[in-house]
Symmetry: C2
Subunit: 226 residues, 2 copies
Amino acid sequence: MTKKAVVLVSGGLDSSTVLAIAKQQGFECYTLSFDYGQRHRSELVAAQNVSNSMNVKQHKIVTLDLATIGGSALTDTNIQVPEHETSGIPVTYVPARNTVFLSIALGWAEVLGANDIFVGVNAVDYSGYPDCRPNYIDAFEQMANLATKAGVEGNKLTIHAPLIELTKAQIISIGIDHGVDYSATISCYQAAVDGTACGVCDSCRLRKQGFLEAGIKDPTRYQNST
Amino acid sequence: MTKKAVVLVSGGLDSSTVLAIAKQQGFECYTLSFDYGQRHRSELVAAQNVSNSMNVKQHKIVTLDLATIGGSALTDTNIQVPEHETSGIPVTYVPARNTVFLSIALGWAEVLGANDIFVGVNAVDYSGYPDCRPNYIDAFEQMANLATKAGVEGNKLTIHAPLIELTKAQIISIGIDHGVDYSATISCYQAAVDGTACGVCDSCRLRKQGFLEAGIKDPTRYQNST
């Protein structure tokens, strides 16, 4: 029987690469996205497109109003998305976002009878985000095995974070090898409704730099580009 | 400075008791409830009433469509709420619910600068729910301290589960000592819109039995009672 996996997909570069990796490992993939009050809603369209193009078994979008608790430039329109590098934890950090997303993935995995969850967290580019570090993922996995039926029934639940130690350029190279079409992905924190990217936010800068370092032509559609 | 705490309140007996305990310990309380597609929506009204009557600093209701992932009698109208005791993990168990709720509480705690989260989980009456056990709470706390700014900045985040080892009768006795008005709380899995309880579901039976054992008159308004 094919093993099932829940894969968190944001519509961005990292999670699309993770989905390709999960598929290559032979998992039947169930992709999960969140409509969480984010500014960059066009990423949900990208998540749907990426899921379709990779023939996933099912794609779900869970509505979750994280803007209610505020605290991030990605959900609170009163906080500006920065256009320059900052030190420490960036204002684009959404409090406990990965924990919330992984928790809901855990719930769906339990419903599906899946023992594997894939997530595109990365400790290299997002060193300012506490919930992108390897020891966080290990702790989540440990908690998850106590939280669910799977744990009680003796099945081991595994959280796969295959990109966690890779640079953006390495991620892109792996994705290209796996046939990922990056033109369908959106990383920009403030992407326009037509899917074009601002080119100046942290996420755009990391992505641009990644393509440059990987020596691969950047397929991103930028605003104001000619 | 008064210490802030996020308290998960469902409008039920247990979480209302926890709120009274947190207040008595001197915390400034921020209560959090979820509109998660549950059948028993009148509990949200109860959560608001309980929060108001206990003078909390703020009460938030986060919308979260857990019904999207299905798998529980509490969110899926195709699964019937049982009216008799069952063995194993009950169908009223919502996959990963406590993990999801605690994760969002963690996010709000981070926004507020609170280092304390209170939750009314109970391992005695809900022995069939994996996410009500003490080792689960410990593992969540450990993960939470790696997930957030608080952990990075050296503040210890604590998950308080003061009811975890108590019987329903003990919880009720403590609540009465703390002045909890249980007539304002709703525990029924299928409460009517007017807040009356079915009297026959697992949750109603545990609650009834608790008042009986505590020797306290049950103030619950039951349907079909005369």
